[in-house]
């Protein structure tokens, strides 16, 4: 139960920071609205589909995860600079309690964020027209889970490795990568060449792709990107856990 108690305190630390609300909850809503407006002003002939609500909602859901990563990372790196963590090391807390205690709140935060993003998307679809099917949306949340693990893994990884000054900077690299070559705000497949190959080598594109396919009901094309994302996520998360444990051992010198 120590892990649950520690999760509670991490959740409180995150939720009592007003920035969490701005980034994790307010930002996705505003972006959804802005992008929808942008989409209305793009001429039909341009064949730009990524800002249509059925592509935008999944993109936004993944985009939100990048902020979950940022918060996970900041929380961990900030804690590591304090004597508070030292003090917890002297308590009966085991390393698995710490790992769960940092992961669980982020998972919950991610799920709340997706819910809000999707509810907003339904409202937007109802206003501007667009067809979002409830079943597909629910299924897409399942397809988002590997990405949840992936971004939390990155958050823990950077949080364990970097101090609280350097951590946000490195996170912003991942955020940019996700947005651009992950295909959230850019039509990567339409670009071809080096960018396309690069984006197919990294997990971000596949993570977005899995959710987009699920939302558009193209179930047969969900499996491949889903598995690729899951593999990446597993590797990154395990790496993060190993590094975290190593860091804790090293802190006890």
């Amino acid at each position: 139960m120590r892990s649950i108690e520690f999760s509670k305190r991490t959740t409180r630390e995150i939720l009592r920071d007003p920035l969490s609300y701005i980034f994790c909850l307010g930002f996705p809503i505003i972006m959804l609205i802005i992008m929808t407006v942008v989409d209305r002003s793009i001429p039909k002939e341009a064949q730009m589909n990524i800002f249509k609500i059925h592509a935008l909602a999944p993109g936004m859901a993944v985009f939100g995860l990048t902020f979950v990563m940022l918060f996970t990372c900041i929380q961990l790196s900030k804690d590591r600079t304090t004597a508070f963590l030292t003090r917890l090391y002297a308590s009966p807390m085991r390393s698995v309690d710490f790992i769960i205690g940092y992961t669980l709140p982020s998972v919950v935060l991610a799920l709340i964020q997706v819910m809000i993003t999707y509810i907003c998307s339904f409202i937007i679809a109802a206003i501007v027209g667009g067809d979002l099917k409830l079943f597909n949306m629910l299924f897409s949340v399942v397809c988002l889970l590997p990405s949840v693990l992936l971004y939390i893994g990155f958050g823990l990884l950077f949080g364990a490795l970097l101090n609280d000054k350097a951590a946000p900077g490195v996170c912003s690299i991942v955020i940019t990568l996700s947005c651009m070559i992950g295909g959230i705000w850019m039509d990567v497949d339409g670009m071809g060449g080096g960018i396309k190959s690069l984006s197919h080598c990294l997990p971000f594109y596949h993570g977005v792709q899995a959710v987009r396919m699920a939302v558009s009901g193209d179930m047969r094309r969900v499996t491949k990107p889903l598995i690729i994302t899951l593999l990446y996520a597993t590797v990154i998360y395990i790496l993060a856990v190993v590094l975290m444990r190593g860091k804790m051992k090293k802190d006890v010198r």
Binding site: R12, E13, T86
Partner: protein, 242 residues
């Protein structure tokens, strides 16, 4: 009380690279005693405490906390001991009560018991006024009181207080002394301090550390006699400057 030891330190040593922070110290502290460690900055007090809490791995040697080895029985040691670090450390965005509750829970108390214990600590440390305030909004002195209350809430058998009264005003210091005095006999306490009158006032036994070694060990009277001085401050200076 029979001659049981709360802490037995056996040739404990800590090196950081080529620097010897703690140099083969050995000593026994009887159960229920209050033991003060004095020493100038960098003498090795915090390092010793950290090793006894499993926060730092000894280069050599061992120590027993209520008979449990810090090398082989660390989980047991962590359950029965607690400490208040030299740097105040509280969860900044949790309220005073939540901080206390949280600590009671991670030491294994159920919700009901944790609430009771938190209530008890709030009373003992007169934290009523601030119990609903976030810890980060408290002044340094109040944070330190909370920090110490969090160390006591697990009812440890062995308590380490690393400079507990640092940054406290005179009244708060006297009040904390009263709290500590009430704990005497109930648990073994190791305290470090730079205030001689604090050590004089509270200690059953005193050790003076210089350069990682224990240069003097005994009751206040014994240490005064050893150096031929009539107060602890002079005795300390004569040993530390040797």
């Amino acid at each position: 009380m029979s001659e049981r030891y709360g802490i037995e330190i056996k040739n404990l040593r800590k090196e950081f690279g080529s620097k010897v922070a703690v140099n083969d110290i050995s000593l026994n502290i009887k159960e229920g005693q209050l033991f003060s460690m004095l020493g100038v900055n960098g003498a090795g007090k915090t390092t010793t405490i950290k090793m006894l809490m499993g926060l730092s791995k000894p280069t050599a040697g061992d120590a027993l906390i209520m008979g449990n080895s810090i090398l082989t029985d660390l989980p047991k040691v962590k359950q029965i001991s607690n400490f208040s670090p030299q740097e105040t450390s509280v969860a900044p965005n949790l309220t005073v009560r939540e901080n206390l509750d949280f600590f009671a829970r991670i030491y294994g108390y159920d919700k009901k018991k944790a609430d009771e214990l938190a209530e008890d600590m709030i009373e003992k440390f007169t934290l009523q006024e601030v119990e609903k305030s976030k810890a980060k909004t408290l002044s340094g002195g109040w944070q330190r009181r909370l920090s110490i209350a969090m160390a006591l809430i697990s009812s440890p058998k062995v308590l380490f207080l690393d400079e507990p009264t640092l940054g406290l005003d005179v009244l708060a210091r006297r009040e904390l002394w009263r709290v500590i005095e009430k704990l005497k006999g109930k648990m073994t306490i190791v305290l470090t301090t730079h205030y001689m009158e604090e050590a004089e006032h509270l200690s059953d036994e005193i050790a003076i550390m210089v350069g990682g070694e224990i240069k003097a060990l005994g009751t206040l009277e014994e240490i005064k006699k050893l150096t031929g001085k009539d107060n602890l401050e002079d005795a300390f200076i004569s040993i530390a400057e040797e």
